[in-house]
């Protein structure tokens, strides 16, 4: 028995070791992937040229294995001193790679390993059958049921009155001719009341809804899918809408921001894009439209010449997008306030934008909707003991006092005046 035990132990030990190594390996590989996505993927793809060259097969191209570390640490210096680096620059100019001097050798190794091991995932077959039209609305059913029941009640009432009339006649009691229901004052009155209430309800909701455009989803000059950009490709919202953290406007990226990536990405190779009406979208054609606007020639990989010397490539023109989120002119809204100070996610107001093929207005954008959030949201209130939170709020002496005395457990936006008129209207 003991003989076997040793063998078993050895086998187990070997297995464990192998397992350990493999885990370790996968940990390294995963590390490489994460590092690649965090640092490189904005400009490089493992297997295809992008803003920068495809990285796979790097080892066969670089002059020496050490070259790559030097290059990552300081590309500008390498371009000045190294012949291969210079050639690389000539090929890809004017873009120069950003220096990543903070990447350690091991990390670079991990990235390169990930790149070399990379195999493109098999294209997903069949679309994810759009979340089966479930969650059926029962109100329709109830409505029909109510109507049917009301009709039955009406008929029964009529039958009842007819029967009574017959029985009365039988018993010889003479009654005046019954008033038909459409001239019956009770019925008429009830009808008018119902009409008034229903009509009033619809008028008021309609009037309130004037100018509100929830679910507004206009057709845009270019079929731009946030799902593909922000969802599948994980591009940060702020890469394109950078002014959201500085300005009241989130801003729509200028065409040159699109071209940062689309100089390299000429065609769409992802899953087929299908509009809500079922028609297919040709992603590559949409990218071609972008080239038209940018004045870019994808074949020569150059912008058109500026022959009319107006400072922009000939034929280029800004894209006239249709604005989706429209606030009335008398409302002041500041994106940077909500993102930088309020630390809100874009999705809070814009919905799951990374899952929207074409953007629609997710929220109602009504005053009640704004105010409600201001009532519920807590500010990053300063804690005098722990020194945590936004130091600006240290001047709210009264609230600090109240928190200390346990009269207050948190400070909402409303508490600091977030529901007052002149926070948004001036």
């Amino acid at each position: 028995m003991s003989r076997y035990r040793i063998t078993i132990n050895k086998t187990l030990a070997v297995l464990l070791l192998v397992l350990l190594f493999s885990i370790n390996n996968s940990a390294f590989a995963a590390d490489g992937e994460a590092l690649f996505k965090a640092n490189c993927s904005n400009c490089h793809k493992p297997d295809a040229d992008y803003t920068g060259p495809a990285l796979k097969g790097w080892s066969s191209r670089v002059p020496s294995p050490d070259w790559v570390y030097k290059w990552v640490a300081n590309p500008a210096q390498m371009i000045a001193t190294d012949a291969y680096a210079k050639a690389l620059f000539e090929q890809w100019k004017p873009t120069v790679m950003t220096a990543f001097s903070n990447l350690k050798k091991e990390e670079i190794d991990a990235i390169l390993k990930y790149v070399d091991d990379y195999t493109p995932p098999a294209p997903a077959t069949a679309s994810a059958s759009g979340a089966a039209g479930g969650a059926s609305d029962d109100s329709m059913l109830y409505g029909i049921l109510t109507l049917v029941l009301a009709l039955v009640a009406l008929i029964l009432l009529q039958v009842n009155s007819n029967l009574r009339k017959l029985s009365d006649e039988k018993e010889g009691i003479y009654r005046s001719e019954p008033v038909p229901f459409y001239r019956n004052k009770t019925y008429l009155m009830a009808g008018i009341l119902v009409l008034f209430i229903v009509g009033g309800y619809f008028t008021i909701t309609g009037a309130i809804g004037l100018g509100r455009m929830k679910n507004y989803q206009p057709v845009q000059p270019i079929y731009y899918s946030h799902k593909i950009h922000a969802g599948i490709n994980q591009i940060s919202c702020l890469y394109c809408h950078g002014s959201a953290q500085d300005s009241k406007h989130a801003g729509i990226p200028s065409v040159n921001v699109c071209m940062n990536c689309h100089m390299a990405i000429k065609e769409y190779k992802g899953d087929p894009i299908v509009r809500e009406d079922g028609s297919a979208v040709n992603g590559t054609e949409e990218i071609q439209k972008l080239y038209q606007y940018a004045g870019w020639n994808p074949d020569t990989k150059q912008y058109n010449a500026d022959n009319n010397s107006d400072g922009i490539p000939d034929g280029a023109k800004p894209i006239s997008w249709v604005k989706i989120h429209n606030l009335p002119d008398h409302v002041y809204f500041n994106h940077s306030q909500h993102i930088k100070v309020g630390k809100q996610q874009c999705q809070t107001c814009h919905g799951n934008i990374q899952e929207m093929p074409e953007v629609f207005q997710f929220a109602e954008l009504s005053m009640g909707w704004c105010v409600n959030c201001h009532r519920e949201s807590k500010v990053d209130f300063y804690n005098k003991e722990t020194k945590e939170g936004n130091k600006f709020y240290s001047i709210y002496e009264k609230f600090h006092e109240d928190i200390k005395n346990h009269k207050l457990d948190s400070v909402t936006v409303e508490k600091i005046g977030g529901t007052e008129c002149q926070k948004c209207h001036y």
Partner: protein, 1070 residues
């Protein structure tokens, strides 16, 4: 209450029945203004029931139509390539320089999404220290002026045709210039103090032998310049140091309003008027003048005299100070006593005294120079080491030029930044002569009176579109950089000169770090345009980029005196008092708002009420009540019926004033404090195209029809232009309406001003505010002490974080009105036009109330900026039926336009009368295009349509709602700035950033009279100002409205008794 003392007009002074009635009936309009429009047709004016139903039906239908269920499709168009420094929605600030006719004020311009929208002072400039003037504030609107020329023009017959390219224009000019032969070339400009421009001009003149450069100041300082040449051998103006002067005597120099460099002088003057501690030191200011000027109204002691007596007064003062002259007799005992007192004070503070004189008579200025020599001003309060370069024109040069033009000896006349056809006394003749000059070229931006007479017009950029530099004072350079690409096909005046100078090398001077030109390097060929030239010019200065960023380079120089030549006096003596006197004399002056009239088409300036007369949109004959009695038979002081008929209606009697054979018909405006023999008439009005039919397009929709041109009354004494003269006056039977704002709104005789004199204050500082203190005590129940909590039955609401508050120092507010224009620009305040101002519909959120007090013939004047007081216990808030106005937890009285339904209950209930109602659609916020057209001419002046032009609307601040018709608006404490500052403070996690915040009015103020900030923070400037318990008061405090604007009481440095406390004291003794 003892407050009969402060009065705004004669009706209030005499408490006439009509005055009371009009004060009671604040809104004398019927509810529906629509009735007035259609009063002809609709059943006798009264609105019958059926009409009401019609209106109701119409407005429902209109509202439904306007609100139409279809939402408009809006577009969002991003940049093709976003410039690095532009983030949409974030303003950038660039330093530049406001230049206008020699004036140069360093400014910082706010640029939003590529459009300049607001001017602020540049705090790095030691001249202005961040102060601005009304004109500088308003000049951003000039950029979007609809009369600006869109391209170069060539005159063909009486019409103009566009010159398609600058090259074509240049070749035409080259052809013309080669054909003028031996005749001279003259460049006629306003004062140029830009070093690089002067260099270009010199290069240009060198190309044309016999050519010359004439600098022409619209309002001349030639008398001073020639006097300085005689006395000091310097043909220049020195720097005045009002901050070093303990005694200031001004002989008609309006140095806080319009004289030489008012922003600089205001700042200096105010530094000696700030009261601190219980024994404050204040400068003492004596003022001798003929009219009532802004500076005069700030003086401690003021004396009036006929304009022709200025020389005699200067001589008398000199004699009193021990000068070797025989004093002429001064008839007026008060003036005589004033001279004695002034002389004594001047000698007492010898070495820290200053005498300035506004006369353009060289001889009088020589006398003044001699006085300054005696009182030790030369080298102390007058600094000759640094000259003031904002005015350089010599009148004889101009008169010689005019003679030359008339005689036909001028071959080419190039006019830049001046408008002599309008502003020269013989302008019409000059215009005709200019049209006969072989080559005449105008660089002016509009087709003004002078450009109209020129054959070629090549408009130069607006200053906000220009590169450039300026040297307003020696060694003080201020730079210009463009804030926007030129809106139209215009070219810098300097570039044109460079092109026409031809292919010769352009001299690039070497400049040392102080900006001094060391030498000229002719070898370097500059780029052919001024944009690059100015960079080359300053290339000797290593950190030009830093200089551009700062906007200024300044060189410190020790103050120095100039050698005085006493002999000059002998020649001047006989002539100094030689001015011809008359029974009635006219004095010509500039208004603080309009100045010389170069910005006459600026609606903000036209609608800015003159701080003294409170009249907008016009000039007029300003006379004293005495003179009015003899001229037009109106006894306003003793005959109440006449007083009311004069004061309650805007129609004023018209007189015909004749000076030197030139007549002008002007409405009479009666104001106390003028000399009884003097008529004061403002310059700068009455702009008119020679082709009257085109006046609206050429001169502008605001300038056309505003006032009369008084420049023809300017005389010439052989050496300089003279701005006063004997006049004959005739009464006419006409009347003319004046739009005056002061008569709107009344404080119902409640005390709103507190002041005293320095000695009483020093003796017993607590007595100044005794009256409000007693009132406060009277309101509270026995034994209670906290007025805020115990003076009311309303609960006290806490302001947990920030509580905004403003403090205004009445002692340093000079009434200059820069804040009013700043407020207008910042907050999209509408311009309503003259017709609407007459109906008390002006929209200014901030007004400067002017109060008279004391001697009716020579009253003291107090200015009080009045804006929404943001009362914590606001009377307006609890009468609003829809809660459109309510209070914020930061102490702001909030106004929500989209909720307001226009009942005006709040305006009615406001004790300060600061709420303004939008009677019409003044800013084009209406849903229906051209909705205002039917009102054109009858209800709305042309200016409203000018303001609604797409070009003009570019000036609107995108952070502030453009208000529509039918809502109330008022001062918001610049809430957009407060919100923005709070946001920045939160982003930076720094609560000290909200300690002191700059509102638009505060930022514009040249004297720092306004402080604003967080009152809850004891370190804030406003808290510190309020700590002065002896002077800090709230207007109408006894109403327990708890205003968030506090005032610091005024203290005059005089021996006379002033103010309420004094009166109470006197009454107790009598």
């Amino acid at each position: 209450m003892s407050n009969k003392k402060y009065w705004q007009n004669f009706g209030e002074l005499n408490q006439t029945a009509t005055f009371k009635q009009s004060a009671d009936n604040e809104f004398n309009e019927s509810l529906l203004p629509i009735e007035e429009i259609s009063s002809e047709g609709l059943l006798d004016g009264k609105t019958p029931r059926r009409d009401f139903l019609k209106y109701l039906g119409f407005s429902t239908a209109a509202a439904a139509l306007a609100a139409s269920c279809e939402m408009p499709v809006r577009r969002a168009v991003p940049y093709l390539q976003r410039p690095d420094n532009v983030i949409p929605g974030v303003s950038n600030y660039y330093a530049s320089t406001y230049v206008n006719g020699g004036d140069a004020i360093s400014v910082v311009v706010k640029q939003r999404d590529g459009r300049p929208i607001k001017i602020e002072g540049n705090e790095l400039s030691s001249i202005t220290k961040g102060g601005t003037s009304a004109q500088a504030q308003a000049s951003v609107l000039d950029l979007y002026d609809t009369t600006r020329l869109r391209h170069p023009l060539q005159k063909v017959g009486n019409d103009y045709k566009e010159v398609s390219t600058f090259e074509a224009f240049d070749s035409m000019i080259a052809g013309e210039m080669s054909s003028i032969g031996a005749k001279s070339v003259v460049l006629l400009t306003s004062t140029i103090n830009s070093p690089s421009t002067l260099q270009i001009i010199n290069n240009f003149l060198a190309k044309y032998p016999g050519s010359r450069h004439v600098q022409y100041d619209t309002v001349s300082y030639s008398g001073m310049i020639t006097a300085n040449e005689a006395c000091y051998g310097k043909k220049a103006l020195p720097s005045y140091q009002f901050d070093k002067a303990k005694t200031i005597v001004s002989l008609g120099a309006d140095f806080l309003g319009t004289w030489l460099s008012p922003v600089e002088f205001s700042r200096q003057y105010a530094s000696n008027r700030k009261v601190s501690g219980d024994a404050p030191k204040l400068s003492r200011h004596f003022h001798f003048e003929s009219m009532l000027s802004l500076t005069g109204s700030n003086a401690d002691d003021r004396f009036t005299h006929k304009p022709s007596e200025t020389g005699a007064i200067a001589l008398a003062l000199l004699a009193k100070l021990g000068g070797a002259v025989t004093a002429p007799s001064i008839a007026d005992a008060k003036v005589k006593a004033g001279i004695d007192k002034a002389a004594a004070e001047l000698m007492k503070t010898k070495g820290a005294s200053l005498v300035v004189c506004g006369s353009n008579d060289m001889n009088i200025q020589v006398v003044v120079n001699t006085i300054n020599e005696i009182i030790g001003a030369n080298g102390t309060t007058i600094n000759w080491a640094v000259t003031n370069n904002t005015r350089k024109g010599t009148d004889t040069e101009m008169s010689t030029l005019v003679a030359d033009i008339n005689s036909g000896s001028v071959g080419a006349l190039l006019v830049y930044d001046c408008n002599p056809v309008y502003s020269f006394s013989e302008g019409n003749k000059l215009g005709a002569a200019i049209s006969k000059v072989p080559v005449s070229i105008s660089f002016n931006g509009t087709l003004d009176e002078t450009s109209e007479q020129c054959k070629y017009v090549i408009p130069s950029h607006h200053w906000l579109e220009s590169w450039g530099d300026a040297e307003p004072k020696t060694g003080h350079f201020s730079f210009m950089q463009p804030l926007i690409n030129p809106l139209f096909k215009t070219r810098a005046f300097q570039t044109s000169l460079m092109k026409w100078t031809g292919s010769q090398t352009v001299n690039i001077p070497t400049v040392d770090s102080t900006g001094k030109v060391l030498g000229v390097t002719p070898s370097k060929v500059s780029s052919a345009d001024y944009e690059n030239y100015v960079k080359d010019f300053w290339s000797g200065k290593a950190d030009f980029e830093k200089a551009l960023q700062d906007g200024v380079i300044e060189v410190e120089t020790a103050p120095a005196a100039a050698t005085f030549n006493a002999a000059a006096l002998t020649a001047a003596l006989g002539k100094a008092a030689a001015a011809k006197s008359g029974a009635t004399e006219v004095v010509l002056y500039q208004k603080v708002s309009m100045g010389t009239g170069s910005q006459a088409n600026n609606p903000w300036l036209q609608e800015l009420p003159d701080p003294i007369s409170k009249v907008t949109w016009d000039n007029y004959a300003m006379v004293s009540p005495e003179l009015a009695k003899s001229l037009v038979g109106l006894d306003i002081m003793n005959n109440q019926r006449q007083a009311d008929s004069y004061e309650v209606t805007p129609e004023k009697p018209v007189i015909k004033v004749t000076v030197n054979g030139k007549s002008l018909e002007l409405p009479v405006l009666i104001l106390p404090g003028l000399n009884d023999n003097t008529i004061a008439v403002a310059l700068g009005y009455g702009r008119e195209s020679a082709d009257q039919a085109n006046s609206l397009e050429r001169v502008g929709r605001s300038a056309t029809g505003a006032g009369k041109n008084a420049y023809p009354m300017v005389g010439f004494d052989g050496s300089s232009f003279i701005y006063s003269a004997a006049a004959t006056v005739e009464k006419t039977n006409n009347t003319y309406p004046l739009a005056q704002t002061q008569v709107h709104g009344s404080s119902e005789s409640r005390p709103v001003i507190f002041e005293t004199n320095l000695s009483s204050y020093t003796k017993n500082p607590e007595a100044l505010l005794e009256e409000p203190r007693n009132e406060r005590m009277g309101i509270m129940a026995e034994g209670k002490t906290d007025f805020v909590k115990d003076g009311t039955i309303y609960p006290d609401y806490e302001k947990p974080g920030i509580k905004w508050g403003m403090s205004i120092d009445l002692n340093t507010c000079t009434g200059c009105s820069a804040c009013v224009v700043a407020c207008t620009a910042e907050n999209n305040v509408s311009v309503v036009g003259k017709i609407q101002v007459q109906k008390a519909h002006e929209m200014h959120w901030l007004r400067i109330d002017r109060y008279f007090t004391g001697d009716i013939k020579n009253p003291d004047v107090v200015f009080q900026p009045m804006l929404c007081q943001h009362c914590d216990n606001a009377p307006c808030e609890n009468v609003c039926p829809v809660a459109a106005t309510n209070h914020s937890s930061e102490g702001l009285n909030q106004m929500t336009y989209n909720r307001c339904i226009g009942t005006r209950y709040c305006a009615n209930n406001c004790p300060f009368k600061v709420r303004r109602f939008n009677w019409l659609d003044f800013t084009g916020a209406d849903s229906f295009k051209d909705n205002q057209q039917p009102l054109r001419g009858t209800e709305l002046n042309e200016v409203v349509f000018q303001m609604n032009d797409d070009l003009t609307r570019m000036v609107l601040n995108p952070d502030v709602t453009v208000r529509s018709r039918g809502v109330i608006e008022k001062c918001s404490f610049c809430v957009q700035r407060l919100q923005d500052t709070k946001l920045e403070a939160k982003k930076n996690q720094d609560p000290t950033m909200v300690r002191n915040v700059k509102t638009a009015c505060m930022q514009a103020c040249p004297t720092n009279a306004i402080n604003f900030g967080n009152v809850n923070d004891k370190e804030s400037e406003v808290s510190k100002a309020r700590a002065d318990k002896n002077r800090n008061f709230y207007v109408l405090e006894q109403l327990h409205v708890l205003p968030n604007v506090s005032y610091l009481a005024k203290i005059r440095n005089t021996d006379r008794h002033v103010g309420i406390a004094e009166e109470a004291h006197e009454e107790a003794h009598s």
